[in-house]
Symmetry: D2
């Protein structure tokens, strides 16, 4: 048994971690924190937890609904940190010091370059020294480094969707540096804090673009895609010229990234079959990334850790278009965090994550 704490469990990523871990045979949640609700039982915050039952392979329930929230986490082997940025870094440093492995769901350790971080997040990084050892927790790209890490920077939801969409094409050198990502997300990505834009009567039957002057997932997408291109032997001269624009959709869960790039002639332009094969090979053994033959639906991934990708060519303009979708709270957050934790402990990578999406 590996003991686990969830820091700031009252968030949506906290709740989603509880759901995934409730099915996990090896992790047991022994500590949950949440400042505003310290002293309360966890099932007074989330009454649906009264339904927790023993899952296959469990001898103890992974989640005890009568667990009391505290301000400070108890000592555990592993911690999932669901705090806002800055607060997350401080907590992670504290936990690492006392020997706890950390999967941090904030943005604090995602960017290798502290200056870039400070430019986009508008504050001084509390523990820049940790950036070097942190591993960007996109399992499909950094699986080996994750296994031996102590601090995992769990990727952003938009970032996961977009990087998985474009890494194969950039690694294969079939597209140029001009990339447009039009991302569409459900509203749960905005979290459990109340805002007018996530107020039901405002958000329902509405769509709009947001963060038009620059969304914070842009630098991590850029960093990872440039690395993937380099790793594939096709470094991007002068860097990616990326426009990334997120849109809010009237649904709770799901992200669909539509990615546009010009095909880059090698000896000759790749055709649809070439592209499909490049993608299928890149993700050949992945349990959670599926290259599909028709435009994917976000709903296929609803409540699951799966990502569906469909690359195709706009033959009139010789552009590559890649559609990529997943559940922002699962593969885009808590599910990926558990996948990272499974790698950290050498468990089956799908443990706790084997369910299909809830459809219809």
């Amino acid at each position: 048994m590996v003991t686990v704490s969830i820091i700031n469990v009252t968030s949506y990523t906290g709740l989603e971690l509880l759901r995934a871990l409730s099915q996990h045979p090896q992790f047991v949640v022994t500590s949950v924190t949440g400042r505003s609700a310290a002293g309360e039982r966890i099932d007074s915050i989330f009454p649906q937890l009264c339904a927790t039952t023993l899952a296959m392979g469990q001898t103890t329930p992974a989640i005890d609904p009568s667990l009391i929230l505290t301000e400070e986490p108890a000592q555990t082997d592993l911690a999932f940190v669901c705090l806002p940025h800055a607060a997350a870094a401080e907590m992670a440093a504290h936990l690492l010091e006392r020997g706890t492995k950390v999967v941090d769901l904030s943005a604090d350790f995602r960017l290798h370059d502290v200056a870039t971080y400070e430019q986009w997040y508008k504050h001084t990084h509390p523990v820049p020294a940790l950036l070097e050892s942190a591993v960007y927790g996109l399992c499909e790209l950094h699986r080996e480094r994750i296994r031996t890490a102590s601090l995992i920077a769990n990727p952003g939801c938009h970032a996961t969707t977009s990087i998985l969409a474009l890494a194969p094409a950039l690694a294969a050198g079939i597209i140029g540096p001009d990339v447009i990502i039009d991302s569409k997300t459900g509203i749960s990505g905005a979290g459990r804090s109340l805002t007018l834009s996530s107020h039901y009567a405002e958000a329902n039957e509405d769509t709009s673009a947001y963060s038009v002057s620059g969304h914070r997932h842009l630098p991590e997408i850029t960093q990872e895609l440039e690395e993937a291109a380099l790793a594939g032997g096709h470094p991007i001269e002068g860097g990616l010229r990326l426009t990334f624009l997120p849109h809010l959709l009237p649904m709770t869960r799901g992200i669909l990234a539509t990615c546009y790039a010009n095909l880059q002639p090698g000896q000759r332009l790749p055709d649809a079959d070439n592209v499909r094969n490049i993608y299928k090979e890149y993700y050949a053994d992945e349990p959670f990334v599926h290259v599909v033959d028709t435009p994917p639906h976000t709903k296929w991934s609803y409540g699951s850790n799966h990502c569906f990708i469909h690359p195709f060519i706009d033959t009139r303009t010789q552009r590559l278009v890649v559609l990529s979708c997943l559940d922002n709270l699962v593969k885009g957050a808590a599910g990926q965090a558990v996948q990272n934790a499974n790698l950290l402990y050498g468990f089956s990578e799908t443990a706790g994550l084997s369910s299909l999406g809830v459809n219809p």
Copy 2:
């Protein structure tokens, strides 16, 4: 391993069975039928099945996405029948003859009285002789009889919600025979067949009552509640006087039944605590029925087999009000069917069904 067929897998109950069974350690789906799609692979109907992975406790995948749909089912140990009524009865008879156990998700074997069946379903019952041996598959009420049955009549979604809501009160004799059930259901209950009332632009941002001249779940609710009253030692003289009115809500999944009845003075009127205790005792050891202290939300059960019940008293009028909710496709259909199958084979009752609802 127990081999399983799903008859008419292209329905929503068929899809939901696939999802539940994909997590099951002992059932393996070896045959799927669907007239209009015979000859196609199952993942061409439901592309999301490409994501099937080994779940905890499985050595073989329970679902093979490359399975081909046929017109006639192959021989299996167990069959789930997802056909419309009448067609279901004929198929069930055929399967039983060749030694297959049957969980029938239609209404064909739910009513003990063939005349009542024929009055409500407007056709002659194809195999009335089977009615006697069929067991109404509401596990919480008929667990022991289910274990030894060959033919299970899986209850209707409204019926499950309403019967679970009122059985404890009737068994305890604390309410009279005048009962009003105002039921509210998501749209997936109408199935995968196309109708104007389930057309998105019609159903979204809309609510309405339907089946105002009498919904077909009414007789099974009446039958089971009268039986529950009798079993509790409080038979209803003259029978239940039940008004049952369903409403369509703009959501995919979920049923909420709001049940109203007059408190029946025994020696004295029960109070809120009495009522709560009666309910908690009635469902004391149930893994899937939870008596809760606040009004439950349908979303708590989203994608799970759990039912949440909140009884309270309207003290101004001395009426009992019971709120009961569940996911119409899971505890209201496919999940309950798997729960029944678990009982039939002596497996853990929660096998394949241990996940929590997807929240938010």
Copy 3:
């Protein structure tokens, strides 16, 4: 031209008043207040107001998008007060003193009996002396008294739906005093203030009951229905025994009240035709209340001031069931307020309110 102020225009009822008045040929909004946004232009709060154009019959736009919000209202002929209760009463008193007619959208002047008010609203009424002259602004029941009033208490949204549903039956004496109203409302009724229950990710794909220990619209429904019964010559001995339970639905607009009552034998039980005729006569000349022959859809009323009512008999139990629906922000709030204002000034009752519901 009649000058109009909207007090607390930043609410949803404020916004809806702006929309209705934008089509009105005789009212001109000259003052808008909103404490938190004082000093801002109204189109910085509601950018969509930039689209205001001249409507038929207007020589001046009824709404000037560059109007500045103030803390205190300027002098106008008429004021719509959209403040929370208690604050509303104080503002109304102040406005009446300076000669402004008032349509108050809060609950402060709806109940004739100050004790009942104080019991349900848990505070001392600021100006009980005004209760006597206030008229309950349900136009269909109190049209003549509204024409000559200075202070109109605009009814609650649930109350409007339910009273219109049951007044004809009680006035005709065809039902007894035991009444159950199961009301279902969209989320905009909760207003523009942020709460967890109106947070999109919580409310979407969910339904639940609320205010289970007693909703504040209950006493006004009781008061008005008892009055309607009396006015029809069928006073209710011992008073109405009303259970009223509201439910939250995942949609922005719309209320559907499902009302259940036992038919009361007069010389003989009324049948479906009798009932329909009683309703059609009661609302024979009403421009906004329509007795229809099929179960109505809330969407029919989306964005319009119309109410659709369908009474029918559950012949198995001899209960009357009445379905009644409308748009909670229009006929349930701002539209009815404009209808009241039209009566106050002798304008066409449908002025500003002639549009059909937005369908699909």
Copy 4:
């Protein structure tokens, strides 16, 4: 009074025409057709029409709910044709012959080039001779030609949104020929015919791209944008290289087009202010197109004929991004058809169309 027929009134564009015309002071609908429902009253198809009341400026109701649907239209001054393509062209030819002016909501007369039409619509054009006199009914671009036409080709919903978004930039010559349009539409655009993709349980909580091999609005967008560039004195050498990809969103109404193009250096690159001014001048006197300073919301236009446009510059990449939104059934279909009809008859361009969007 101008008499009007609606051909195939049982469509969503038919219903939306009824709603707009119900507020119109000069048009009277005297004939409605619909093959499958011929012989029925129009309010048996759309029961909500029972609520039709006299609008401001009307002496006769524009819509008579008791109107009977016929197979063939009666003689009227004007006809709105809501048939599918091909059938529409034949009907239009027939109506024009008998002296009726036609606003055709299909695609049959939108493309000047018959070969392009036949390539995209996969059938022979029934009446190619009419293409020359038909005017593309985008009022903002072709107002003067519309006034004197007999046959108006009402633009597609995606096309209207996208052309209005990009025409000013192309006319001003500030962007190059490489254009990507990522369009997002609500589901009502798919019409009232039943399909799996518009089945509620499939579409709700889902998003996906569609028509990935080429959507039929692409050629009309190309045609009109190239014309607009030419009209502005900045013809596009070699033609537009347009990728247009539509996405289905879980909402009933609304289109948001997100358009990406590289800024084209003239003497120097335009900045945000230049761009905003170019757009504000281009639409300076338009009653229905509004250049706004923040990202627009589709909901602002809900049920109204208004279009909101927000151009901005991605300064990291020097790309122009334009957000454009409207209600697909109003400005994207029926509202624009009425706007065209107003121009045809010299009525106020906003007659029947003056209402604001329904918000929230």
